[in-house]
């Protein structure tokens, strides 16, 4: 551990983080796993100006380039977590440290990129396990706001941002019964049955959602017809890229019924949909495939939805979706409270024992994620021209026992030190 930190610190010392951008670095002698193509034993990767300049079996070191020998090690693309709250929430239970959700049902103008704290301790902790970029999304209400796709390194959001908005996040209305772990689910005195109430609320929300979409559409039309004195509405303005199909809607829907309704909604509204969570996506796989709707999966390591579901159902779903031809990415944020983005690779690995080929699992935390977020030509594999977000490992990155030796983000070595390592060093020496 200390050696790893020392290597990283040494690398940092050699590299100027300021001034004329990242230096040119040649990684040499490692097994390169481009993910997009066959592995290259004894391969090299040249990084220049933050991008991958060359990949191959033999690359001559350009003048002035620093050469890093990586014999016996492996180079993979950095992993992408497609659902996190990184930067928006520091300590889950402390309200003052959360900027995840705001008041109201329709808040498309809210931007996660505005509130992400680049100094969050979660960032260095997460990237230390090879996750180099994440999607952070706002929550709450129906249209929650704009997600951001960002590198996990940078002084400011300007350094970090890859896409903002990466998506318009939405929670599809559903019949929500009162209750839960500590609740009773009983009817309030003098009111109708809780189910009837919940159904009414749901129908009302559906109506409001359709009205909102209609308003946005009319706004766009009016804006197109109007002159310079057109009065801007920030909420409706934010919906235009969604209606234009430039920004996808990341729609959370869990059960089969809700997923089907969300698909019909996206179809009717002509918006591009990414399904989030989709606990029962496997029941709707043909529809998802037919509509080319990709899925951001809930954590594989979770309990089955129903008592009589097979014990391994959640482990099997990625394999089933893969067979059905549905594109998906793994993600750490889920219905439980145990999200821990650094464990993203283990969520992918958990599906491998249960029918998902290992290569597909790896792609679903790298290339497929990039493709889902519309940056398939910028990120997610080791290919010329892409961002040089790379990790150097001593083995398969999906295995817990593998150590992440070095991380490069936008072509620069990243310090693998973090709060946890500092506390480790401090108290081990006590």
């Amino acid at each position: 551990m200390k050696t790893g930190a020392a290597i990283a610190a040494g690398l940092l010392a050699l590299v100027s983080l300021r001034g004329a951008g990242p230096e040119t670095i040649l990684l040499r002698g490692a097994t390169v796993h481009p993910v997009s193509g066959p592995d290259i034993p004894g391969g090299s990767v040249l990084m220049r100006d933050g991008k991958i300049a060359e990949v191959g079996a033999r690359i001559a070191a350009p003048k002035g380039a620093r050469v890093i020998e990586l014999k016996g090690l492996h180079i993979y693309p950095g992993m992408i977590d497609s659902a996190t709250e990184i930067g928006l929430s520091e300590i889950g239970a402390v309200r003052e440290m959360s900027d995840i959700s705001d008041i109201g049902l329709f808040k498309p103008q809210l931007r996660a990129a505005t509130a992400v704290n680049p100094a969050s301790e979660h960032i260095p902790v997460t990237r230390a396990n090879g996750i180099t970029s994440v999607v952070t999304s706002p929550g709450g209400g129906i249209v929650a706001g704009q997600s951001v796709l960002m590198h996990l390194s940078g002084w400011t959001m300007d350094d970090m941002v890859i896409r903002s908005p990466a998506a318009m996040r939405m929670e599809f209305p559903r019949i929500q019964m009162p209750g839960g772990r500590f609740g009773g689910g009983e009817a309030a005195p003098g009111r109708g049955s809780p189910y009837a109430d919940a159904k009414k609320r749901y129908q009302q929300q559906l109506q409001e959602l359709n009205d909102f979409m209609e308003s946005a559409r009319r706004y766009r039309q009016a804006k197109g017809a109007a002159g310079a004195d057109f009065e801007v509405d920030l909420k409706l303005e934010a919906m235009i890229p969604v209606l234009d199909g430039k920004v996808p809607m990341l729609i959370r829907a869990e059960k089969e019924k809700t997923i089907k309704e969300a698909i019909a909604f996206a179809d009717k509204q002509g918006v591009r949909m990414i399904l989030e969570r989709g606990l029962e996506a496997w029941k709707v796989a043909p529809e998802l495939k037919a509509h080319h709707i990709p899925v951001v999966l809930p954590p594989t390591l979770r309990l089955p939805e129903a008592e009589d579901d097979p014990y391994d159902k959640p482990f099997c779903i990625p394999g089933e979706l893969s067979k059905a031809g549905v594109k998906f990415a793994f993600a750490s944020f889920g219905p439980g409270d145990e999200d821990n983005p650094r464990n993203l690779p283990f969520l992918a690995a958990a599906a491998v024992g249960f029918g998902l080929p290992q290569e597909e699992a790896l792609k679903a935390v790298t290339l497929y994620a990039a493709q889902i977020w519309g940056v398939g030509d910028e990120l997610g594999s080791i290919e010329k021209g892409k961002w040089a977000d790379l990790i150097v490992t001593d083995g398969d990155p999906l295995e817990t026992r593998t150590q992440i030796k070095q991380v490069f983000i936008k072509g620069s070595p990243v310090d693998l030190d973090n709060k946890h390592r500092r506390l480790y060093d401090k108290y081990l020496a006590r």
């Binding site: 300590i91 889950g92 109708g192 049955s193 189910y195 439980g336 145990e338 821990n340 817990t400 946890h420």
Partner: protein, 454 residues
């Protein structure tokens, strides 16, 4: 349905039968790793080694290419309990998990399918002194009594920090607590524990005085039995283990001092996320630590939690286990153990010990379970790959030599279960349709609630 199917399946392997698991990579945890066989008779491991003769009539299980490890032990779980928190009082030592075990909880089977054979089921963390714990085996299909780990030392839950204080804070109800409840600070938490133990001491003295009078053949009236203080007297007398939920280093030291003052030993510190900061003191007190692998930052007192916690404490001489506190995490404690290799560099045996022999020692059942050794209960988990690999899955699980989980059987039985469920649903629907046709049935209908009729 699972239960009956598996019960039938277990019949040919019932106690009394001899079983040999062979060609396996055997991870004994305490006696090294080898390629070989395990001989099981009368629910116990008789022999384990590179060459084990298969006695005539023995059932042979070929585990070629597979890995056998001791059944996983979870030192902190809440599965199979109908209720967890008695939060209305700050000291709830009068209640116990032993009275609320639900043997039908599917999480028992799910845990079993993750290789878990024994778990410590604890009361919740709403009180400085909580309810009594119950150690049980995952004998899916047995009744509540049949699940209990016979002869295991009884335990009790203590809890410190935020969960306990929360009931004292307005607008933050926890468990069943209505409104405010003392304590609301870590100072108050210490006070509540000291007050209760002081009471317990007085109660202990009442009984001792009574006994002394009887011994002297004097007339004496027995003290009134106090169900709250009785378990605490057992704690003072070392007859009941204390499993104490804690997070911060300061409160850990507080509890160690309290236990010193009252002359008993805390058996385990649970969660103990800042244990690494005071590992030396924990080791000096001979207190066990049962922690999470890598949870952090979910609440203020977990902000200094680090995944190196287990490794640091191991290096400083603390007896450490990894627990789940979650029906989900419980299903993959083997790979949770692998995290202690990644973070802090434990070796394979040290890592596996965190979920086998170490928790067994913490629960005082290491003579029975926790490693693969002759004389111990045949509680074994067979994995298709090395259990520290994220690609490994459980193939078979034995408890007391009986096969309680078999993945192949589980897979084979699925179509029949689906068909059975469908038949039941169809039958139900048909009945409902029939009833709806009856004109008088409208009287029976109460409300529009679709789920509320039955």
């Amino acid at each position: 349905m699972n239960r009956y199917a598996l019960f039938l399946l277990a019949l040919p392997l019932a106690a009394g039968q001899t079983t040999v698991i062979r060609n396996a990579t055997v991870l004994t945890v305490t006696k090294g790793t080898f390629q070989g066989s395990i001989l099981i008779r009368d629910g116990k491991i008789v022999e384990a080694g590179e060459k084990v003769m298969a006695p005539e009539g023995a059932r042979v299980i070929d585990a070629g290419g597979q890995y056998v490890m001791p059944g996983i032990i979870d030192c902190h779980s809440h599965i199979a309990a109908d209720s967890i928190n008695e939060g209305a009082v700050a000291v709830s030592s009068m209640v116990g998990i032993e009275d609320v075990i639900n043997p039908d909880d599917i999480d028992i089977y799910r845990a079993l399918a993750g290789g878990v054979t024994t778990a410590n089921i604890l009361h919740g963390s709403a009180n400085p002194i909580g309810g009594k714990c119950q150690v049980m085996k995952m004998r899916w299909g047995k009744d509540a009594e049949g699940l209990k780990f016979e002869g295991a030392m009884p335990g009790i839950k203590f809890a410190l920090g935020e969960n306990v204080k929360r009931s004292g804070s307005p607008g933050n109800g926890f468990g069943a607590s209505p409104g405010l409840r003392y304590p609301a600070s870590r100072m108050g938490v210490e006070d509540v524990i000291r007050e209760a133990l002081t009471e317990a001491r007085a109660y202990q003295k009442e009984w001792r005085d009574y006994q002394a009078k009887l011994d002297r053949h004097e007339q004496a009236i027995a003290p009134r039995r106090d169900l709250k203080l009785e378990p605490l007297v057992e704690v003072l007398e070392g007859k009941r283990y204390v499993h104490a939920h804690c997070y911060r280093a300061d409160e850990i030291l507080m509890l160690l001092k309290v236990s010193d003052d009252f002359g008993f030993k805390i058996r385990t510190l649970q969660h103990v996320l800042e244990g690494y900061k005071v590992a030396r003191e924990i080791a000096e007190h001979g207190v066990g630590a049962s922690t999470f692998s890598d949870w952090w930052a979910y609440k203020a007192e977990a902000y200094d939690a680090i995944p190196y916690n287990a490794a640091i404490m191991v290096r400083k001489g603390v007896l450490v286990s990894l627990n789940s506190d979650s029906a989900e995490l419980m299903r993959h404690l083997n790979t949770e153990a692998a995290k202690a290799m990644k973070y802090g560099g434990l070796n394979e045996t040290e890592a596996l010990s965190l979920v086998t022999i170490n928790p067994a020692k913490q629960l005082g059942i290491e003579g029975r379970v926790g490693s693969i050794e002759p004389g111990k209960d045949a509680d074994l988990a067979i994995f298709d790959k090395h259990p520290l690999s994220n690609y490994a899955k459980v193939e078979k699980v034995f408890i007391d030599g009986e096969l309680y989980f078999d993945r192949q059987k589980d897979l084979e039985e699925r179509p029949a279960k689906v068909a059975r469920k469908k038949a039941l649903v169809d039958q139900f629907k048909a009945q409902e349709k029939k009833e709806r046709k009856k004109p008088e049935s409208s009287e029976d209908k109460k409300g529009e609630d679709p789920g509320g009729v039955r």
